[in-house]
Symmetry: C2
Subunit: 142 residues, 2 copies
DNA sequence: CTTTTATCCTACTAAATTGGTAGGATAAGT
DNA sequence: ACTTATCCTACCAATTTAGTAGGATAAAAG
């Protein structure tokens, strides 16, 4: 029961882009790799996933680099999670409908469903803007 | 981000023992295996873990079999989870204190911590007695 | 007291997943 | 023309998962 490193690095990447959002240039892959202490090569995959999910874009030309593809307050932790995994499904059989072969399955399946929903909504309730604000606040006097 | 099958089978096993708690005999491994559609051999591991965790006991003698080792309302989903895994730690570095090498780590770590706590307390807030009652209620008129 | 049956315990394993690295093609800026 | 950044596909070692297998032990039944 763990989140994978892609999601974690992906979240860091997204937060970095959010913090850089106001500045003139976009953010280069190399820059992110250095700040987040991950190889450029591995970041390749992470950025590819974030792009595919439509969360970031690479604006070319002068002052090129990656930028968020929508306002930071419209990107939740769950959006970032889903960029790397499928929708959150904490036990495999959760999507199955219809027959319940085992006598206890109903009530337990219901429980897993509730937990699944609860985790999902926790992740949906936090967006990048909040995180960035909090970060700025924490680092204000340093 | 999934719960493993041991935890799922373990929970089913525990619920079955709860539902059988009032009857005279304990519950045999074989019986559980049949009801839960899992091999006796695999159940071996599951039961071993539950025993090690102190959640069940095997009472010998006449009317032998497994029983809960404490009242059903004192056993939570989280207790069962912990019988199969360690304490819930959704990202590896969560326990680290002290240095934060990356500039964003503070606020993100804080977020992961909160999520971790929230999942934990969801799991702690549901106990076997509630599940069993709900189950009985659902199956009342069948 | 022998046989059967249930539990206990250790070892093994095939398949899937994770966390990357490697190589090169492509494109674009200088 | 050269360099640098991105894009894209393939590969891989280590770990985890979801079991099976074999046999020792204990205890109940006949």
């Amino acid at each position: 029961m763990k989140f994978n490193t892609k999601t974690r690095y992906g979240l860091r990447t997204m937060l970095e882009l959010t913090l850089n959002a106001e500045r003139d240039e976009g953010t280069l892959q190399k820059e992110i790799a250095e700040n987040q202490d991950v190889s450029v090569k591995y970041l390749d995959h992470i950025i590819a996933d974030l792009k595919t999910a439509g969360l970031i874009v690479n604006v070319g030309g002068k002052k090129s680099g990656y930028r968020l593809n929508k306002p930071a307050e419209d990107i939740t932790i769950y959006d970032i999670y889903v960029a790397f995994e499928n929708e959150l499904v904490i036990i495999d059989c959760l999507h199955l409908n219809g027959e319940f072969p085992r006598k206890q399955i109903c009530v337990l399946k219901e429980y897993w469903c509730e937990l699944n929903q609860s985790i999902k909504s926790s992740m949906k309730s936090k967006n990048l803007k909040e995180l960035a604000q909090k970060h700025r606040n924490v680092n204000k006097y340093k």
